[in-house]
Amino acid sequence: MAVVAVPPPAPGPASRFWAQVRRDRAGVGGLVLFALVVAGAVAGPAVVPYDPRQPNLLAAFQPPSAAHLLGTDQLGRDLFSRVVAGARASLLGGLGALGVSLALGVPAGLVAGYAGGAWDDLLMGLVEVLMSFPGVLLALLAVAVLGAGQRNVVLAVGLASAPVFARLVRGSALALREQEFVVAARALGATPARVVVRHVLPGCVPPIVVTAVLRLGITIVTVAGLGFLGLGGDPATPEWGAMLSAGAEFLRAAPHIALAPGGAILLTVLSVNLFGDAVADALNPRVRARRG
């Protein structure tokens, strides 16, 4: 029987991307750590040993032990359960805020960059005004208007990040508008909406992805920060920022109450940043050339 050597299929862009990310050891470490946080967020409330919301004053302020891995807080709630359950609020908060800023920023940038003219002036004027506020301040103003509460905090942080994406996408769209394939699509009679969605938007995806992964650390921190300031609403809901703030009251007697959520915040943000750097490097052609 003759053996025909079949060449392996050429790696697609996606597998090349993963091969690149895999080569970055710190990035892989970040990804593994991040996967743990995601697992906690998904399975959290179902697998934790205690009800994270149920106070038990007889068990308050206990240091870490076999029964309570991370100890108990000032109301006797199990800190391990609260930290694991809190992954959901922090992760969903950060991702939700990122989603809000993409949903607002990307269309605005596409319209400004592709349509140009008055639309561009109007939208970029708005972006410049929004950028005349430090990001945190803008989020605080939005919370002041919307009212406190976790959902409003997420909206506010998303709103504060949106100008970044609007400006980024506008730049890409502006460059793509004059490319031959876009001009050709226009010449063939495609509607502007079709040209933007089918031809301009795909070209904007790599920079959007890079900025989004680098931005996730910031949105998670800002959402947790507003929770720390007491703007996240219901204090019974496990949320790392609010838990850290509550624990900071008892640093002398029971530092573990602050350290447990603090460690969770640090590890999550560190993992997101490590992984984000790896993704950004893998999508950046200059870095790729240097390594390849």
């Binding site: 410049e128 005349s132 103003l141 406190a148 007491g230 703007l231 850290l244 002398r252």
Partner: protein, 304 residues
């Protein structure tokens, strides 16, 4: 040069106006009667009526904005619904405390970040360089409020080197300034390392080396100065960003700054204070960014 300054300065006017429109409009978006919002939930009917007259609430929106803007420019930011005192007076002292904190934080980040950046570039690829990467990564991954709590735990509660909270002496300034300044340290270090590596490869650096100058003089006298120009930009921009991030340091250390006051005002729905504080901080931020551009233009002969 003067033309450059004027042109840049004039460009900030529409941005400032836009910011004031945004603040004015946001507060008007809060559901409810604006007269009640600005007079406070427990105001007497007379006070509500007086507020309505003062803010011109019976007149069209653009006229209300004109009244708001004229009063803001004159330094009249209304009356706090919580304390009944003028907002401008309440803000001034706290504003100075925030500027003091941000200034100290910048001083800290420059004192630590510049040497770290130099060492990382000169010892490129070796221990100190790798350590600086780790420090930078930790710096961007430790949010101000978390670092603040950790510093409080170790240096104040455990070791007792610094007071836990408050603002009675210069020692009270140290921990909040470090927690606020750590994030820029990371930026300054990385940026200075990159730009110093660039200038170390330039012709004029090679010339300096060729004429037999010791390496320290080559780095400090010839390569460092041009490499500092981009760092100046970062320092200025970070100072602006601190006006926002300072909220967290102020909350951890109960520093009596404008950020902590703003968060309290949000909790108490004291909207005149919210409006005034946001406006003041945004104006400072825009001015700081303007100053950065001007300093940059002055430092970099190519833009002169």
């Amino acid at each position: 040069m003067i033309v450059v300054i004027l042109r840049r300065a004039i460009r900030t006017v529409p941005v400032l106006l836009g910011a004031s429109v945004l603040v004015f409009a946001s507060i008007r978006l809060i559901p409810g009667d604006p007269a009640l919002i600005f007079a406070g939930d427990h105001a007497t009917p007379e006070l509500v009526a007086q507020t309505r007259r003062e803010l011109g609430l019976d007149r069209p929106l653009w006229a209300q904005y004109a009244i708001f803007l004229r009063r803001a420019v004159m330094g009249d930011l209304g009356t706090s619904t919580r304390t009944g005192r003028p907002v401008a007076g309440e803000l001034m002292h706290r504003y100075r405390m925030t500027l003091l904190l941000a200034g100290a934080a910048i001083a800290f980040s420059v004192t630590v970040g510049v040497p770290l950046g130099i060492v990382a570039a000169v010892r490129r690829g070796r221990g100190p360089d790798k350590a600086s990467v780790a420090v930078a990564l930790l710096g961007v991954s430790l949010p101000t409020f978390l670092l603040g709590v950790l510093l409080q735990l170790v240096l104040a509660v455990r070791l007792g080197w610094f007071p836990v909270a408050g603002a009675q002496s210069w020692q009270h300034l140290v921990l909040p300034a470090i927690s606020l300044g750590a994030f820029p340290v990371a930026h300054i270090t990385r940026l200075l390392r990159t730009s110093l590596l660039e200038t170390l490869g330039e012709d004029y650096t090679r010339t300096a080396r060729a004429k037999g100058l010791p390496e320290s003089a080559v780095v400090l006298r010839h390569a460092l100065k041009p490499a500092l120009i981009p760092a100046v930009t970062i320092v200025g921009l970070q100072f602006g960003a601190m006006l926002g991030a300072s909220v967290f340091a102020e909350a951890v250390f109960t520093w009596p700054g404008i950020g902590r006051y703003l968060v309290q005002a949000i909790a108490f729905r004291d909207y005149p204070v919210v409006q005034g504080a946001v406006l003041l901080l945004a104006a400072t931020y825009v001015t700081a960014n303007l100053a950065v551009d001007l300093v940059y233009a002055w430092l970099d002969p190519r833009t002169r």
